[in-house]
């Protein structure tokens, strides 16, 4: 362990799902307390904090539940990259020596049903929403529809990805969807946006996750098995990237924010995608997991059909993906998902993931989030 190393010494989660009567801020405080207890440190010792939600309030309001300690706390509201952005800041503060112990927290609480954003908030005319184009599900459907035709992906593989998610979710006591579904049941469920059926999509939901990060003596002295945060990288879209809520898209194409964030994270870590033992990638719907596997470099484009059929992405496979059930089984509380992924990697690298533990003592983990309006954050962890 070098003086520059940043590690994760505590991880906490509030179960994902629906929690009537519990506010997002209460879930955030519960996750933060769990992370602090796991790390064996007190809230008073934290000297930097960052976190946020998309729709459930300002994260620093939760400090009034944890205690008013004067800690510098940055509120983050950065779409699906909220957790990744908070992690990026905490990592940079620790690397710079500006803090020794940091807490990051992500949480959210969304009503049932698809998101219904205001076009004006996205720089679009009201006509875009009035005519029925303002739905994130449409974007994901059209992206995978095109991808399937170019890279030989079948609807059966879309269903297999969702079946794996629910299988893994059934092993995760903190997951929302804990009932296994067969690929046939998933294919036969209600069509939402061709080619994606109801059970191929995640649902907006509720939940919270938090981590305690440390450097120097606080890291070396931790009683928890060391899990190093080797890198974290965050990118936004370039011109030519196909993104949600786009009335037009350039004909010329460019690397996606996912591809750029993943490449930057691997380079900074000095670890390649081939070294990854367990990965969590954004699976807003089952096609997203398939596309993101290749965009992050974890496999080649057009390789996924065979890769998934071979069982490689299962918990016992060569490259286990979304071992906690991903967004499909946990739902999508926007601010919480990115840190849920890292929470899962910490458990897997410690060997504490219980019934869903990846066999063979994994040493390298990778996390990827992606979301509107074209943002991605990736992290590489190792033990």
């Amino acid at each position: 362990m070098s003086a520059e190393d940043v590690g994760i010494i505590g991880a906490g989660i509030h179960p994902f799902g629906r929690h009537p009567g519990v506010t997002g801020l209460q879930m955030a405080a519960a996750a933060a307390r769990a992370a602090l207890a796991d790390a064996g440190v007190s809230w008073q010792e934290i000297d930097f904090a960052a976190g946020g939600s998309d729709a459930a309030g300002n994260a620093d309001t939760s400090v009034s539940m944890l205690g008013l300690t004067g800690v510098p706390f940055v509120n983050v509201r950065n779409g699906c990259a909220t957790g990744g952005s908070a992690l990026t800041m905490a990592h940079a503060m620790l690397r710079a020596g500006s803090a020794d112990l940091a807490l990051v927290v992500g949480f959210d609480k969304h009503p049932p049903g698809a998101f219904n954003p205001d076009p004006g908030d996205w720089g679009l005319g009201a006509w875009y929403g009035e005519t029925g184009l303002m739905l994130t599900t449409q974007f994901f459907a059209m992206k995978i529809q095109r991808y399937m035709s170019e890279h030989g992906i079948s609807s059966a593989t879309l269903a297999e990805v969702a079946a794996k998610a629910f299988r893994n979710g059934a092993l995760n006591p903190n997951a929302w969807r804990r009932k296994s579904l067969t690929a046939q049941e998933i294919l036969a469920s209600k069509m939402v946006n061709h080619p994606l059926t109801q059970f191929m999509f995640c649902s907006p939901g509720e939940g919270a996750a938090a981590l305690v990060l440390a450097r120097g003596a606080r890291l070396r002295g931790s009683s928890r098995p060391p899990v190093l945060l080797r890198s974290v990288a965050f990118r936004t879209r370039r011109f030519g990237s196909f993104e949600v809520f786009s009335p037009s898209v350039a004909i010329e194409s460019c690397p996606s924010p996912t591809a750029e964030a993943a490449a930057a994270a691997f380079e900074a870590a000095g670890i390649g995608p081939g070294d990854v033992d367990v990965a969590q990638v954004q699976d807003t719907e089952s096609g997203a997991e398939i596309m993101h596997l290749a965009e992050t470099g974890l496999c080649q484009h057009s390789e996924q059909e065979k890769l998934i059929a071979s069982g490689a992405t299962e918990i016992g496979g060569r490259l286990p993906v979304n071992t906690d059930g991903g967004c499909l089984a946990n739902g999508e509380p926007i601010g919480a998902s990115g840190l849920r992924q890292v929470h899962e990697l910490v458990l897997q690298l410690r060997g504490d993931a219980g019934a869903r533990q990846v066999p063979g003592r994994p040493t390298v983990g990778f996390a990827h989030v992606y979301g509107a309006p074209g943002v991605s954050a990736c992290a590489v962890l190792s033990r």
Binding site: A114, T131, L133, N193, H194, P247, S248, A250
Partner: protein, 151 residues
């Protein structure tokens, strides 16, 4: 649908002034990038030297889906889930210009395929049917006869 007695859903989106409907885009004078809807700066090179450009009426279907559930209102114009009918939407690649997102006149998935030729048209805007409010859409057109690759 003629352009005589219709009200566009938004100003500056399309025009019926000179005959058949045309989408109003913009083109960068510096790098040539075409955008839709028209915008005052170039999304690629950031130049503010952009001019209005009427886009091609024909293109090919780049990707598509069917909207099978009623969108929430707002922002959708109609708040009547019981009366909802699925509709198609997609991106149409206008050669040498840009890929435009649009509603499609076709909602049958078996009659849509990537690469099929499409043409711009007008359709009643959701909720605006009785007031003559229209929006743009693309409809499938018959394949051009194959002249042995010469045309």
């Amino acid at each position: 649908m003629s352009g005589d007695s219709v009200t566009p859903i938004a100003a500056g989106l399309f025009t019926v002034a000179d005959g058949p409907v045309r989408l109003i885009g913009s083109q960068c004078a510096r790098c040539g990038t075409v955008a839709f809807p028209s915008q005052p700066s170039c999304p690629k090179c950031t130049s503010v030297d952009v001019t209005q450009r009427l886009l091609a009426r024909r293109g090919t279907l780049w990707s598509w889906t069917i909207q099978c559930f009623p969108p929430k209102s707002p922002p959708y114009a109609v708040d009547d889930p019981g009366a909802f009918e699925p509709y198609g939407l997609g991106y149409i690649e206008l050669p040498g210009e840009v890929r435009v997102e649009a509603r499609l006149t076709e909602a049958d998935p078996d009659r849509l395929r990537i690469g099929m030729p499409m043409e711009l048209t007008l359709v009643p805007a959701p909720g605006g049917e009785t007031q003559g409010v229209v929006t743009y859409a693309f409809r499938p057109v018959a394949e051009e006869p194959n002249h042995g690759g010469t045309g």
